[in-house]
């Protein structure tokens, strides 16, 4: 099942039988608004804290995914979840609500595809019949934890990114209707020495490039095999760097459409989101809310989602460390594509 050095090839073709996305107000004003299952008009979602609001997002996304999959909660066998918060509390509290065996993961913003890759691997290998992959982020929990509480009104440079408020979930099964998870390339840490947490796109770009190149090496595929390749949250600065690096590396990305979820989830020109979106939920809501619908409609046959993560902590930054980055890529395709 391992193909090449770091790619899991899913020969049983596990299926995403249900997926969902729940978002906050800013995402609800973005260009993908009509694709989300639920848009909260307020950032607090009538909860007493930002953290409780984020947990609600994760729980709602899980509930929608279960409903869309047409299964009962009791049929779920594993929940593979993670988020940005210290000790991934959003996921763990959501896991308490779900009441199924739980594996917590942390990959910063790459968690969306890290959890989807693992859930698909479990189903593909017969270790689960139904597995839920999910992740969440909230603009105010992330600002508070990684930078300053939003109430301070701290200024940001234009290279900073805006954490998506939302949660995305997908249920993977051995069979059923829906797109297929074809393979997943698990990333290595890449750290080229960037230490500015307000320029994470630049820090993460080389990790995305490394995983994309490894994916093509391992699978023998090439960019033209995909109708769309999207990075998770490189945003304006990082995505340009990734494009340049790929061109220099001889990867013909002009043969496909190369996008970034952080540039798709907002209208970056009009909304005040600096360089674009970020956060675990960024690639999750774009993939589960938007991209899967374009596969279902037949517009896209095969896509590669390359979720990027910056594995720093405020403390590692304060101690003068650079930012270790990673990217995990998952190929999703219509059942007919093969």
């Amino acid at each position: 099942m391992l193909r090449g050095n770091q790619t899991w090839w899913f020969e049983q073709r596990p299926v995403i039988i249900g997926a969902s996305s729940v978002v906050g107000p800013d995402e609800g004003e973005g260009p993908l608004a009509s694709d989300f299952d639920l848009i909260h008009p307020e950032l607090d979602m009538q909860q007493k804290s930002w953290e409780k609001a984020e947990r609600l997002l994760m729980e709602q996304a899980s509930d929608f995914a279960i409903r869309h999959a047409g299964i009962q909660k009791e049929q779920l066998q594993f929940y593979i979840g993670g988020d940005l918060l210290n000790q991934i509390i959003s996921s763990s509290f959501a896991a308490r609500d779900l009441g199924v065996p739980y594996l917590g993961m942390f990959g910063a913003c790459s968690t969306s595809m890290e959890t989807l890759a693992l859930a698909s691997q479990l189903v593909n290998s017969g270790s689960a019949s139904y597995a839920l992959a999910g992740t969440s982020s909230h603009n105010c929990t992330a600002e508070k934890q990684f930078r300053y509480p939003t109430e301070y009104g701290a200024q940001k440079p234009p290279t900073a990114q805006y954490t998506v408020t939302g949660a995305g979930a997908a249920i993977i099964a051995t069979e059923g209707d829906g797109p297929v998870v074809a393979c997943a390339t698990i990333g290595k840490i890449v750290d080229l020495g960037v230490s500015d947490p307000f320029n994470m796109g630049a820090a993460m770009a080389p990790a995305a490039v490394d995983t994309i190149q490894s994916h093509f090496n391992d699978t023998g595929r090439q960019p033209s095999d995909y109708d769309l390749i999207v990075t998770g949250d490189l945003a304006n600065v990082g995505h340009r760097i990734a494009s340049d690096l790929l061109e220099r590396g001889g990867v013909p990305m002009r043969d496909t459409t190369f996008g970034d979820c952080g540039l798709m989830v907002y209208d970056v020109e009009k909304q005040k989101v600096q360089a674009g979106g970020s956060g675990c939920a960024c690639s999750a809501v774009v993939t589960y809310g938007h991209l899967l619908k374009r596969i279902a409609s037949g517009e896209l046959k095969r896509i590669l989602v390359v979720a990027t993560g910056a594995l720093l902590s405020p403390l590692s930054y304060q101690q003068g460390e650079t930012i270790p980055c990673i990217a995990h890529a998952v190929a999703i395709e219509s059942k007919e594509a093969n």
Copy 2:
């Protein structure tokens, strides 16, 4: 490969071909001292911060495990790691050092067996030929992050536990010499409403019991099938509660030896460790340092390690939340046991 509701049965019998444990001074004064690969005489390990010391532990444990396995670093295909620190920085920085595809996990102190379970699953399913599972904790990083910096000299109640300073790592392979990972039971969240972070043993005990019962239900095994069943870090208070709950639940634990890594790693009567040891490294260094040697010597044929985790964060506690707990169980046996 799924047996029952939540147990992965490893029919390919993946082998732990190398394991290691590196610890700090307190563990070096405990009863298992002679089993560890390296004992640091100072808590700071000549590093500039406690966090850098913890990372060093993880890197050293990985290096020893690779050496003991008799493989080259380049043969490793995946590193499955996690720790207690925010954004699991010890693992992620160690992953940068290793340079192999990396999956970060978080299960608090259950991370030891969460990572071993997943590494074994990957090898068993053909998703990896060599996978490294590892985890670490450091008394001073944990105190600083979860409670108070040790320099404050804050007092603690006798129900509190003492975080183990150490790291443990194991390399799982499709074949080779060493004990076999037979199966793993993935836990569900159990939260009976305990909210006192100075009594985590009591909070975690019901999760251990739930996983032990599920393990026997799923596998058809019973306590007498094991020479030893150990919980991860319930310590004095929690282990007694777990024993009581199992007895009331009709699980005949008197047919086996039922221990706790938190009570084994220190001399709880003589060392100032309150109720006993805790931390990700607690079950990791006891399992990888001590128990595997007792399997190798033939003294133990088959053991079940039930690593427990309290999935709280300081923030969830401050917001009045109770403590969601989990336990993952892994059965390890000599090759001859079957």
